[in-house]
């Protein structure tokens, strides 16, 4: 071992001097995902490629471990540090375990941001969330209102009473409910993110409120169950189901008309925006500090909050026109 190491390092020092002058022209941005072979991240890569094309002088390195492990991601990041990439944009498998490695990357002058799944603040320059609680809260009631020109009663089918995400979103929704005066939120029920319980709760809602016009389900389990309950009750066209769901699970219900539209993040936009932000930070024409704004190309600007986190945009709306395109992705 020791002899080998000595041989290595002597050889290395010699070549380092020679190879020092060779430098790539393009800026290399690494998009590190939780694991390869996941549709959501393949779509994000598509967005990153789009951004690279738009920027011109950018090469995207799309990479990640085979399994969703922190150790695997660290190996990948180590090899990216070794390649002296200009920026690393990572969707982390572990909030904390990546911090030492990413700190090292930053020490060596690499721009580090996290997106989708964040890294603890000391391990990155900024984090890009696909959306934010206020934007989601507003979007879910807006989707219901958009399909109710005359207004009417709507009800919420949530996950569990203790689901932090859903509770925050519903709270945010209630804050902006005044902006949609014709829409009356009559009640909230909990399906515990179980398909059968959600289904029964949705049935119950339709019986309790005969004039119900829409069910808002800000959970991917609930929205599918509610759409099924509406279909089985023969109330397609009377009760519209909306909320947050996955295109692959909702495509059928959108086509049948049980759900006119629903929302969720768009992975393509997310990959695109992460690349744009990484580019501007690495180039030095934007800084990652609280209150700063960073351009994101066609997605507008990201404004950083006190934790140097930013929300990309409103959740993306899926309806008949685009659900097929995305249902094969995630």
């Amino acid at each position: 071992m020791s002899i080998l190491t000595k041989a290595l390092t002597t050889a290395a020092m010699a070549t380092a001097l020679i190879a020092g002058s060779a430098q790539a022209e393009d800026m290399r941005i690494a998009l590190v995902v939780k694991a390869l072979g996941i549709g959501f991240f393949e779509a994000a890569n598509k967005g990153a490629q789009e951004a690279a094309e738009e920027l011109g002088d950018v090469e995207i390195i799309y990479t990640g471990p085979t399994d969703t492990t922190a150790e695997g991601q660290i190996e990948v990041i180590n090899s990216l540090i070794a390649q002296k990439v200009d920026a690393i944009a990572v969707s982390a498998n572990d909030t904390d375990a990546l911090v030492p490695t990413l700190k090292k990357a930053m020490q060596r002058g690499i721009t580090v941001i996290s997106w989708d799944s964040g890294v603890a603040a000391e391990g990155r320059q900024m984090h890009l969330s696909p959306s934010s609680a206020p934007l989601i809260g507003n979007m879910i009631i807006k989707l219901a209102a958009d399909n109710l020109p005359e207004g009417g009663e709507v009800a919420v089918l949530s996950a569990t009473t203790t689901s932090t995400n859903q509770n925050t979103w519903i709270e945010e929704m209630n804050k902006v409910a005044g902006n949609y005066p014709d829409v009356k939120v009559v009640g909230t029920v909990y399906g515990d993110d179980l398909a059968d319980k959600s289904y029964r709760e949705a049935q119950g809602l339709m019986q309790t409120y005969p004039d119900l016009k829409a069910i808002i389900a800000p959970t991917s389990v609930g929205i599918v169950a509610a759409a099924q309950a509406v279909t089985d009750a023969g109330k397609i066209g009377e009760v519209n189901v909306t909320g947050l769901g996955l295109p692959s699970e909702m495509a059928g219900h959108v086509k049948s008309g049980a759900s006119k539209s629903f929302a969720i993040w768009n992975p393509i936009d997310l990959g695109y925006s992460a690349t744009m932000i990484a580019y501007h930070l690495a180039k030095g024409d934007a800084t990652a500090e609280p209150g700063a704004t960073i351009p994101m190309g066609r997605m507008g600007e990201a404004t950083l909050d006190d934790n140097t986190e930013a929300a990309m945009a409103d959740p993306f709306v899926y309806d008949e026109s685009n659900v097929d395109e995305f249902s094969s992705i995630f």
């Binding site: 190491t5 390869l36 990479t63 085979t66 695997g72 180590n78 090899s79 375990a97």
Partner: protein
């Protein structure tokens, strides 16, 4: 251990017992270790040609993290496999050690206590495996598949989807510290472990007994070797090395999650087998394991530099393993005609 009489276990029956002390130079040249060394050199040269970033002291230093922790366990695992047993619970033992250290850290323990607890938990895991295998005579593969779930299960119960973070700054030395220039603390531990296990296996009575048990446990027992005690000690050693690896890995990650070190057991066994240790027991050497660890590290790091996707990487590692193992057999078949 009784006395020196055990060293004269007859080697003539069936498989021979390798002994480096009397190996002639010619045999060394044709040995497995030499073949591996050639493979390692070839990979090294290929990597330097393929990527301009490969020959950089800091990069190579970073690359060692790909294998040091696994290799530490591989040394103990090699001895265990030479003796005819196996321990598939090492990855889970790391998770349990790390969880215990995390609990202590949360309770305010300092670095020395954390290290002692890491080592102690590792030893306890090894003792548990060893007890079931050596004392109750259960097959090691069955026992350790069971403890693989058991140890990690305890971690999951303690942590759920949470994590322990905020280890003391001095604790970071093990996994992130440097002894001198690019020489990491982990590299030093790896080297020391290689020397210690090399000496134990190749230069002591204990090592000879390990080979004897692996070749024929019954004959070893009739020769006066306390087979069960040695098997128990080997499990203890494997547990201890898992504890050391857990300290290094936890320190490097700066946090504990129950999913830590998932899949380590198979990577450790891969290094051992690639190092020329017969999976059936009875033969193999520590230098072989050292070179195999380097080969694995060089391959994964080199491919990583070329941004080869992990899926392709695991195919290449699999092909390498089969290739390196099949090559000598094919060679001898061809020579025989």
């Amino acid at each position: 251990m009784s006395d020196a009489t055990t060293t004269s276990v007859p080697a003539a029956s069936g498989r021979n017992i390798p002994d480096r002390l009397i190996s002639p130079a010619a045999r060394a040249l044709k040995s497995w270790e030499m073949l591996l060394l050639i493979v390692a050199a070839a990979i090294f040269i290929a990597n330097s040609l393929a990527s301009p970033y490969f020959l950089d002291p800091w990069n190579l230093s970073d690359a060692t993290f790909n294998f040091t922790e696994k290799a530490m366990i591989a040394f103990a695992m090699a001895m265990l496999i030479v003796a005819g047993d196996i321990d598939l619970s090492v990855g889970s033992a790391i998770a349990l050690c790390s969880t215990v250290m995390g609990l202590a850290m949360a309770a305010g323990a300092g670095t020395p206590v954390l290290v002692l607890l890491g080592l102690g938990t590792g030893l306890a895991c090894g003792a548990f495996n060893g007890l079931l295998v050596a004392r109750f005579g259960l097959p090691s593969i069955v026992v350790t598949i069971g403890t693989m779930s058991l140890f990690r299960g305890i971690s999951y119960i303690v942590l759920g989807d949470g994590a322990f973070t905020g280890y003391p700054a001095s604790f970071a030395w093990f996994g992130q510290g440097y002894v001198f220039w690019v020489i990491t603390v982990e590299m030093v531990i790896f080297t020391l472990a290689a020397i210690v296990f090399g000496v134990i296996l190749h230069l002591t009575n204990f090592g000879r007994m390990v080979y004897a048990i692996g070749n024929n446990a019954t004959a070893a027992r009739f020769s006066g070797i306390r087979v069960d005690r040695i098997r128990f000690i080997l499990f203890l050693l494997t547990g201890l090395m898992s504890g050391i690896a857990a300290i290094c890995l936890t320190s490097r990650l700066g946090s504990t999650r129950p999913s830590i070190a998932t899949g380590f057991e198979l990577e450790v066994v891969t290094i051992v087998v690639l190092g020329g240790v017969s999976i059936l027991g009875g033969s193999g050497s520590i230098p072989g394991v050292v070179i195999a660890a380097l080969v694995m590290g060089l391959v994964t790091f080199g491919l990583g530099l070329l941004n080869v996707p992990g899926i392709v990487m695991s195919i290449i590692v699999g092909a390498l393993l089969i290739g390196v193992i099949a090559l000598p057999r094919l060679w001898s078949m061809l020579r025989r005609g």
